[in-house]
């Protein structure tokens, strides 16, 4: 038996490619659109405000209907490979109708804040808190932006590249639990 050269999900590349073409014509002005190693489309938003606009437009556009936020994360761009700004914010969007994916990216400076999308996807609440916790990225308009994984007294943001791997910061006692998800920070 020979080794299959094409992965069986290759036929889904066709719909994904059609999406890329559509994005290039409809949303391509001023935004960089590229493909990743798995032929999925990456859209680079111009700035944080544009990123939020994109999420909203992708959601409401009848031809793509990106109505599902799979994931929201960030990564450190300290080596400047992806641009001159410090962080890259990543939105993984999925369409439940067409089963296509868009990865929306946005460059952010260290002191620049992103716009929250909690008003569009309520599930972004904890995801944005995690990004804040791990990278120290501020989300403007977030209802409850505080640390989620780490203790509230913790210093530094662990997933930044300069944070040492072996650094420890133990606390003897448990934290007081805040009640009410929408409490101010």
């Amino acid at each position: 038996m020979k080794t299959s050269s094409v992965s069986p999900n290759a036929k889904y590349l066709a719909t994904q490619m059609a999406l890329t073409e559509y994005l290039k014509t409809q949303f391509g002005t001023g935004r960089k659109i590229e493909l990743d190693n798995f032929e999925e489309v990456i859209v680079w938003a111009k700035d944080p405000a544009d990123a939020k606009r994109c999420v909203k437009d992708f959601m409401t556009d009848k031809n793509i209907q990106m109505d599902f936020l799979s994931d929201l994360t960030a990564y450190d761009n300290k080596d400047g490979e992806d641009g001159d700004k410090r962080f890259v914010l990543v939105y993984q969007l999925f369409s439940r109708t067409f089963h296509t994916r868009i990865r929306l990216k946005c460059l952010l400076d260290e002191n620049e804040s992103a716009l929250t999308i909690v008003d569009l996807f309520a599930g972004a609440n904890w995801l944005e808190r995690e990004v804040y916790d791990m990278f120290g990225i501020d989300f403007k308009g977030h209802p409850n932006l505080r640390r989620i994984m780490m203790d509230e007294r913790f210093t530094g943001h662990p997933l930044r590249k300069e944070y040492p791997m072996k650094q420890r910061e133990p606390f003897k006692d448990n934290i007081r639990l805040h009640l009410g998800a929408n409490e101010d920070k």
Partner: protein, 396 residues
């Protein structure tokens, strides 16, 4: 606080559940404000099992990090193993061999059965049905014994490798799998007989912990929980990977979104998994297990000890790691709990620049915080068991 102790009829009594509580099955903490017995407000605190797995991903080579994927969802470690291997393979544009794909699908479906068994058994145990627990856990043991025969480990398997699997199937595996597939539906029928029409079970689970369709869309709920709420979504069918397009199975969709529907969906999914396992067992192809790609191929042990070049190759793969090209990929599969995804950004070299784990439990616990409001404390326990929060993948 002093006021609350004085006033027995205070509508603002705080109840802390967890992080060490037998019914939370992990280090989950929920703070509830109760009025009488009704939860009026709730807040979840997570991070008690945070082990910085994503940070470790930047320090370890791609193969070294494989063992950490077992510790994400430890009820279905194989799913995480395989999804991670798949992501790295996508990054390197490698497609595994047919036999490898079949073995991986068998693994994923076996661990799906295990995960559903754990979820239903623990949920029933929390609600007092101990018989169900013992009956089901027996089948989990059977499945684990089968996994042990495949890779030598039970809970934390580390079975997948980039480009193949660490071992081929053992002798007589097909017969064992056939026996398992023939016998487990009877056990599932028995459990159905014990629970599905049971008055106590229905009273405790129907209309309890309802996650509406809108909540699912808003909070990105995936997997059996979303399907129980009526969202027809399954990555095995919608964005098929490996051999799923060739297999015949049904996507189970519920309607109510309550604990009872989630239980029914999980029961039926186990039957569908058995169906998939049977088909895989019949179609299992012979042929090579490993891709013929020098970049990832782990050489045969006998050759390593006898041939110089192969020894060097082996040394380089394990001491330096495999060289993954620049780029990024996000790959997700339908895990037992929902969408399990890995997002890897590579800057070239043997270590990842960033590994992100998208875990279903994270979003499920967030919606839990919202949906327990208005219910009672025993309902919260039933709800928590049915959404199957695994602290390992919640906190990572």
């Amino acid at each position: 606080m002093e006021n609350q102790q004085q006033d027995l009829y205070n509508p603002n009594v705080l109840i802390n559940i967890g992080p060490n509580h037998p019914a939370t099955h992990g280090t989950l903490r929920v703070m509830c404000r109760i009025n009488g017995e009704v939860i009026e407000d709730a807040n979840c605190e997570i991070g008690y099992l945070h082990r910085a797995i994503e940070k470790l991903g930047e320090e370890k080579t791609y193969h070294q990090w494989m063992v950490y994927t077992d510790r994400l969802n430890y009820c279905s470690a194989l799913n995480n193993n395989i999804t991670y291997a798949m992501t790295v393979e996508n990054l390197m544009k490698i497609s595994p061999t047919d036999r490898c794909m079949y073995i991986r699908v068998v693994c994923m479906e076996l661990s799906r059965i295990i995960d559903h068994i754990v979820c239903i058994a623990a949920n029933a145990l929390d609600l007092g049905a101990m018989t169900v627990f013992f009956l089901l856990i027996h089948w989990r043991e059977e499945a684990y014994t089968m996994i042990e025969s495949m890779c030598g480990m039970r809970l934390t398997t580390t079975y997948a490798r980039i480009g193949g699997m660490s071992y081929d199937l053992p002798d007589g595996f097909a017969q064992r799998l056939k026996k398992f597939c023939d016998e487990i539906p009877k056990a599932i029928d028995e459990i159905e007989g014990l629970l599905t029409g049971n008055r106590i079970w229905i009273d405790r689970t129907k209309n309890v912990g309802v996650i509406t369709k809108e909540d699912c869309a808003q909070f990105s709920v995936t997997g059996p929980c979303a399907r129980a709420s009526g969202i027809d979504m399954d990555l095995r069918r919608d964005r098929p990977y490996y051999i799923y397009p060739e297999l015949d199975f049904d996507v189970v969709v519920g309607s109510g979104g309550d604990v009872y529907d989630r239980y029914l969906v999980r029961m039926e999914e186990m039957r569908q998994s058995v169906r998939i396992l049977k088909q895989c067992n019949e179609k299992m192809p012979n042929g090579p297990l490993w891709v013929d790609d020098k970049r990832v191929l782990i050489p045969n042990k006998l050759d390593v000890y006898t041939k110089m070049e192969v020894l060097i190759h082996h040394f380089k793969i394990f001491m330096e790691g495999i060289d993954v090209p620049k780029g990024e990929a996000y790959t997700c599969t339908e895990g037992p709990n929902g969408e399990v995804g890995f997002y890897i950004v590579s800057r070239g070299g043997p270590k990842a620049w960033r590994i992100r784990v998208k875990s279903p439990s994270f979003t499920h616990f967030q919606v839990f915080e919202k949906t327990i409001k208005g219910g009672k404390i025993p309902d919260a326990i039933a709800h928590l068991g049915s959404v199957n929060i695994i602290a390992g993948e919640l906190d990572r």
